[in-house]
């Protein structure tokens, strides 16, 4: 059996632990509580880490998917540190001032009023996460995946594709909305260099927008992969990873938007 099909559930349920017997000191705990029984099966384990207790092989049927998900997780963790650095610079700059020639403490932070279109953009991004998740779940639909593995057409790809396209489309709408917000600010004479708060507004929205462009590219890559990738496992992985990235960018945006809207 190949990698990433959803296995039937009975296989994934963990092995039942042996019954506790009070008279067997080797295996039971005598009613006093003890370490769980040692794994006596041969093959290199034996350190109570249940290394060998894995269904269908030593790492499980979703080995490749879990590997890619872990990679995406770490990449997002690094990315989060990037945003954390910018946000902490935000708070530091907001709180700092200087003494002018008259010995007055001046803080020149003038909050940048966010264009109302940003609310609409946020809603669009939330909806796009919903469509993305629908697409992702359709890729893992058990029966469809099994049919696909057998070579009976591509039902998962067929059913997920329009939702992926919808997500990419909504992403582009979001980006257009962000550009619109920028233009609205420019028309009011607020540029990146205008005030410390506008430095951050444009920087934060710009950097997030750049990440979203990469996200849209990933989604387009997923659509292309659905068409051209030859293994269902790989198709599932590329959609899954793109969508998790998309969700993360959505969550980051919620935090950043809250920051810009309420914490200036």
């Amino acid at each position: 059996m190949p990698g990433t099909l959803t296995p039937i559930d009975t296989e994934r349920r963990p092995q039942r632990r042996p019954e506790r017997r009070t008279d067997d000191t080797d295996h039971g705990d005598g009613g006093n509580g003890r370490r769980p029984p040692t794994d006596k099966r041969t093959g290199g384990g034996g350190d109570n880490d249940n290394w060998n207790d894995r269904p269908q092989g030593h790492r499980g049927p979703r080995e490749k998917l879990r590997r890619y998900r872990l990679g995406v997780f770490f990449a997002l963790a690094g990315d989060m540190m990037f945003f954390v650095a910018i946000v902490s610079a935000f708070f530091v700059s907001q709180a700092s001032g200087h003494f002018d020639a008259y010995n007055n403490y001046i803080n020149r932070w003038l909050p940048t009023a966010i264009p109302p279109v940003l609310w609409l953009n946020t809603a669009v991004l939330v909806v796009s996460s919903v469509t993305a998740e629908i697409a992702r779940r359709r890729m893992f639909n058990q029966i469809d995946a099994m049919e696909e593995w057998f070579g009976l057409g591509r039902p998962t790809s067929r059913r997920a594709m329009p939702w992926l396209v919808a997500t990419a489309f909504l992403g582009l709408v979001f980006l257009a909305g962000q550009v619109l917000a920028w233009r609205q600010l420019h028309l009011q004479g607020v540029f990146m260099s205008s005030n410390v708060s506008s430095h951050f507004f444009f920087l934060i929205t710009g950097v997030h927008g750049l990440h979203l462009v990469l996200g849209v590219a990933a989604l387009i890559g997923a659509v292309v992969g659905l068409r051209y990738s030859s293994q269902v496992e790989n198709r599932q992985i590329i959609v899954d990873c793109s969508v998790w990235y998309w969700h993360s960018m959505g969550v980051f945006w919620l935090f950043l938007f809250t920051l810009l809207a309420f914490f200036q």
Binding site: G43, G44, G45, D47, D49, W51, N52, H58, R59, E63, R66, R67, L70, G71, F74, A75, A77, G78, D79, M80, M81, F82, F83, V84, A85, I86, A89, V92, S93, S96, G97, H98, I106, N107, R108, W109, F191, M192, S193, N195, V196, H199, F202, L203, V207, S230
Partner: protein, 578 residues
């Protein structure tokens, strides 16, 4: 889709560029690091020559002006810290050896691995191109404090040269983040059967912790670089304070703070130096255990100290900023966290000493360099607590005392780790599809070791003295300075020439190494399998394509009974007796 059949093997160029084999990529990183260290060493020699004999000029260039000197300083630091000490231990040897040590055939994401390498190579090319920028290369050091680095008119080379430096480091940050994602995923998900966390060799723990630090730190550097770029080109003032007057021009419309850069940079910068040293510490433990034919003393403690050093390394960045204008209470807080790192570091040293205690080891070159690592790590590390006390840093900050400290521990101990790795793993480095692995010459290795050890101490121990005398860093010359300052600097001059001679000797001592490399690569005598009687998986015989290797015990399971001659490697299952 019908598969494409190849009628001929892919060309050498195609293989070199498109390879996703972790060994090839590791070798590529090592070549990149070798080029960088060669350039960096030449730059440092030029710096030393200029400081000692300022009147000597470069052929074809003329006299070394102060801005030229500072460009040398900047490039030396940037090349060595980033392109040597962050690439070679982690990505160079990590790529080569990590998969084998955990019993897998590939890194988790081979194509990403190749992409990271080529991004690093592009970053290096960008950096080197900054030398040719109009205005010259940047002069703000590897730490690039604004406003010197934020205002293009603040110094020669701070325009395009500085931008290229920024671009280079931004690319490098992205590449290193990708590489660390790869390492982390590989260690967590690709270990073979039986390779539990407690059985991982300490080198893998070193790579793992360094990758965790990389992931956290380089993103912050990237953010700082982005903010600096915006200050330079988008009219922002994250780091430029209001009323900043450079020359006759006012800069900075907003309310920036140069201290913000220092916080962001050093939040990255301190974990960076632990990234440079952690793999070497892990390797030292393994090599000492190997050649002493001993179990490593306190294996679990060593794992814990590796993680603890990594964790504490994130909390100490303020010790670079004691006199930078911080709240003095912050100075106390950072001082305490910095002193705390002395504890796990000392635990590691004690474990190394205990491992080789009364062991009559085999003095192969790799062992010599591992012992040298211990010596230099202690020598450089013991001045750490001195600098960690803010009242003492008030005198010693930015003097040559600090230079001596980090050179002994990073440049020498860190590089000794790299040398040890090269001699130890040369059969793995030199093994290709066509040729078996070879061994390096022990004789040349011993000459290399003693020359380097003596040269290292001879060069950097006197710097403690000049630092205590007050010699500041980044001074383009020590002569020709007017006023009382000239008299103070004059007291530091007598030791300059001996230091320079020692540095030249140290550089010359690397020639046997290069010769050794060249000869050994051309040598045809294959190395015996497992030449060091090691226990870790990279020395196991290559399993057949449908077999998997497995790990059965902790590494360094040497038996005391036979002076350690009998041993059970990790890949051999328990057979009847013993």
């Amino acid at each position: 889709m019908t598969p494409i059949t190849r009628t001929s093997a892919p060309s050498f160029l195609r293989r070199a560029i498109c390879t996703t084999d972790h060994r090839a990529i590791g070798r590529q990183y090592l070549v990149l690091a070798l080029i960088s260290v060669a350039i960096g060493t030449v730059l440092s020699l030029l710096m030393r020559l200029h400081l000692t004999w300022p009147e000597i000029g470069l052929p074809g260039h003329g006299p070394i002006l102060p801005e030229d000197y500072l460009t040398l300083v900047t490039f030396h630091g940037t090349l060595m810290v980033f392109y040597v000490l962050t690439t070679a231990p982690q990505s160079g040897f990590g790529n080569l050896i990590l998969p084998s040590q955990i019993g897998t055939r590939h890194m988790a994401f081979p194509r990403l691995n190749a992409a990271a390498f080529w991004l690093t190579a592009t970053a290096l090319a960008t950096l080197l191109s900054a030398t040719f920028a109009p205005g010259g290369g940047p002069i703000s050091g590897w730490t690039a404090y604004p406003p010197l680095s934020a205002v293009a008119s603040a110094g020669p080379g701070q325009a395009l040269g500085m931008d290229l430096w920024l671009a280079s480091l931004a690319l490098f940050s992205i590449a290193t983040t990708i590489a660390s994602v790869n390492t982390l995923t590989t260690v967590i998900r690709s270990r073979c059967d039986g390779m539990t966390w407690e059985r991982l060799p300490l080198t893998v723990w070193g790579w793992f912790t360094a990758a965790l630090l990389s992931l956290l730190a380089f993103s912050v550097l990237l953010a700082a670089l982005l903010l600096l770029f915006c200050d330079r080109h988008a009219g922002t003032s994250f780091f430029i304070p209001s009323g900043d007057l450079v020359g006759r021009t006012l800069h900075g419309g907003g309310n920036g703070s140069p201290l913000l850069w220092l916080h962001l940079f050093w939040f990255f910068g301190h974990p960076e130096v632990y990234i440079a040293i952690l793999p070497g510490m892990g390797l030292t433990s393994m090599i000492l255990g190997n050649f002493a034919r001993r179990r490593i003393f306190g294996y679990r403690i060593m794992i814990a100290t590796t993680l603890l050093i990594g964790f504490l390394g994130i909390l100490v960045w303020g010790h670079h900023m004691f006199v930078a204008g911080l709240n003095p209470f912050a100075g106390t807080a950072f001082s305490i966290s910095t002193m705390a790192i002395a504890v796990p570091a000392a635990a590691k040293v004690l474990s190394w000493l205990a491992t080789i205690w009364r062991s009559r080891p085999e003095y192969k070159t790799a062992m010599l360099f591992a012992l040298g690592f211990v010596s230099l790590f202690v020598a450089g590390g013991l001045t750490g607590p001195v600098l960690a006390q803010p009242i003492l840093d008030q005198y010693l900050h930015n003097t040559f005392f600090v230079v001596a400290h980090f050179h002994l521990i990073m440049a020498m101990a860190g590089v000794f780790g790299l040398f040890a790795a090269t001699y130890y793993w040369f059969p793995q480095i030199s093994a290709t599809a066509n040729r078996p692995g070879r061994l390096m010459s022990e004789r040349l290795g011993r000459i290399h070791f003693w020359g380097t050890l003596i040269g290292a101490y001879a060069t950097f121990l006197p710097m403690h003295i000049t630092g205590l005398e007050g010699e500041p860093r980044h001074y383009a010359q020590l002569t020709g300075v007017p006023g009382q300052a000239g008299h103070l600097l004059a007291t530091t001059i007598p030791l300059q020439a001996p230091i320079t001679y020692a540095a030249l000797f140290l550089a010359a001592a690397q020639l046997p190494f290069l010769l050794n490399l060249a000869l050994s690569l051309r040598n045809s005598k294959p190395a015996p399998p497992n030449p060091w009687q090691a226990t870790t998986l990279e020395w196991a015989p290559e399993p057949s394509p449908d077999e998997e290797i497995a790990a059965y015990r902790v590494p360094c399971s040497y038996h005391e009974g036979n002076n350690g001659a009998t041993f059970l490697p990790q890949w051999v299952s328990d057979v009847s007796t013993e």
